[in-house]
């Protein structure tokens, strides 16, 4: 852990895992959706469900969905602000099998009807991990610029993606592959040390067999 994992972050209380981490999960979900959500269902699991209310976990998740960072003083007012922004919020609880105690399943929809389902956990100290997107396993923290590519599971897909990225001078730090079944839908998660050029992302999107490309950079606004 670096010294700023020990000292800091600056955050709205009361809990780095139940509040700051929850804001971050909401914010990652908004960025993955790519547009402000107009509908959000928050299904809390484990300790999030048991003590989430007293820790403001619900407010924190909504604040993140509204685009707030973990130190935003408006976090306590997230519900009225969501109403003003036209975001419909529904709260519930769920049992996610084998999940970390501080986990949540977020189902969001933007104004165009695009939907996204994110399963994520808060690991402590404000750090988080996304476990699955739209029911497909994935594992990333958002601490690095991250590409999430959903593609048809067929030979050559990985080579094609890495060829495009290497041509565009993007250095891949980590790469993971997941799929729901052979020949079905697959997910590639790539983390990079540097910001990934928009041109590379557009080229990936144009690739046959690639269903959806999502780019997550928590350093960027929006």
């Amino acid at each position: 852990m670096n010294i700023f994992d020990i000292m800091g972050p600056v955050m709205v209380g009361p809990s780095s895992s139940h509040t700051a981490g929850a804001v971050r999960i909401g914010l990652i979900t908004r960025k993955l959706l790519g547009r402000p959500p107009v509908r959000a269902e928050l299904l809390l699991h484990g300790s999030f469900a048991a003590t989430g209310k007293g820790h403001g976990t619900d407010k924190a998740l909504v604040a993140g969905l509204l685009g707030m960072a973990p130190d935003d003083p408006d976090i306590p007012r997230a519900f009225p602000l969501a109403e003003r922004a036209g975001m419909l919020v529904r709260l519930g609880s769920i049992v996610l099998r084998g999940a970390h105690p501080n986990s949540v399943l977020l189902k969001v929809e933007d104004e165009r009807g695009n939907t996204l389902e994110v399963n994520a956990s808060s690991l402590g100290g404000g750090r988080v991990r996304v476990n699955a997107i739209d029911g497909l396993d994935a594992s990333f923290t958002g601490e690095y610029p991250t590409l999430i590519i959903r593609n048809e599971d067929r030979p050559g897909a990985v080579a094609e993606v890495s060829a495009i990225l290497s041509r565009r001078q993007v250095n891949i730090a980590t790469m993971q592959l997941y799929r729901n079944m052979r020949g079905g839908l697959a997910v590639m998660v790539l983390e990079s040390d540097q910001d990934i050029w928009q041109e590379a992302i557009e080229e990936l999107r144009a690739c046959p067999g690639i269903v959806r490309v999502t780019y997550l950079n928590m350093e960027e606004d929006g």
């Binding site: 852990m1 670096n2 020990i6 600056v10 209310k53 130190d71």
Partner: protein, 285 residues
């Protein structure tokens, strides 16, 4: 590379002031430059100061268990402890209350223990007219010791009980105080070792699982413990067990703690009849 032993920290401090050794390591570790690292730490100090300044005695947590205590001590305290120590008590309560009431604080090392460092640092800065620069250096010292604690033991109550949160904060604060009073790196290590030893075994038993009772007041205990251990170290008092071994003991004590006493809200004060009744009321709300 992050520091994984106090011994290593002291070796690095043979070449330069300990705070600077921690900064130099941060620069290497993250590939940051000195100004960037310093700026980030200075902002944390500013945020600690602001969170105490924005305190209001009218704040109440959503459970209504916490609020107003810092104001009471700030107003009436001092008859027994004198102005400095009562300011320490009030500052710990204020920060802990701000945290419980969803105001902005600095996790140091956690949100639950966020009151300890500001509680000892702010009143000392005021009393002795110390510069913000000196306070920022003190945060580097605290972070360096905290890094060793995190790597050898834990700074999470769910893993190691309250000894890992308020205990760690108290050890970090004791070392930072020795720095501010002009003590040696060895004295910082003794102060940290004493502070950790005193809180060894403290369980994490929050009522209703909330960071409120007994967390806010345990910040006061962590701050007062840090002051007395720093004072002892500055007078040449030594800890028989070296700091690294104390931290290792803290880990093994944490590992042997039952889950009920590690932030589950199922044991200790949380499991008392009153603790259970409060939990039922809040969760039924």
């Amino acid at each position: 590379m992050a520091f994984t032993s106090v011994e290593g920290l002291l070796r690095a401090a043979a070449e330069m002031p300990l705070w600077q050794a921690v900064q130099a390591d941060d620069i290497r570790d993250r590939g940051a430059d000195a100004a960037d690292s310093w700026g980030q730490m200075a902002r944390l100090w500013a945020a600690m100061t602001e969170s105490v300044a924005q305190y209001s005695p009218l704040l109440r947590s959503s459970s209504d268990l916490v609020g107003g205590e810092g104001g009471l001590v700030a107003e009436q305290g001092g008859r027994l402890c004198g102005p400095f120590l009562s300011a320490v008590i009030a500052t710990a309560l204020k920060t802990g209350e701000c945290n419980a009431c969803m105001r902005r604080i600095v996790a140091a090392p956690t949100a639950g223990a966020s009151g300890v460092l500001p509680a000892v640092l702010l009143p000392l800065q005021q009393r002795d007219g110390l510069s913000d620069e000196a306070m920022t250096q003190a945060l580097y010292v605290a972070a360096g010791f905290g890094q060793v604690i995190a790597s050898r033991a834990s700074i999470s109550g769910a893993e190691g009980g309250c000894q890992a949160e308020v205990g760690s904060a108290s050890g970090m604060a004791a070392a930072a105080l020795v720095h501010l009073m002009g003590g040696t790196p060895e004295q910082m290590a003794h102060a940290c070792a004493m502070a950790l030893s005193n809180i060894l075994g403290l369980v994490c038993d929050p009522v209703a699982g909330l960071v409120e009772v007994p967390c806010v007041k345990r910040n006061v205990m962590g701050a007062m413990n840090a002051l007395s251990c720093a004072e002892m170290a500055l007078c040449g008092v030594k800890n028989a067990i070296p700091c690294d071994e104390v931290i290792d003991a803290m880990r093994s004590v944490g590992d042997s703690m039952p889950a009920a006493l590690r932030e589950t809200g199922a044991g200790g004060l949380a499991a008392t009849p009153t603790g259970r009744r409060i939990a039922e009321q809040i969760l039924g709300k």
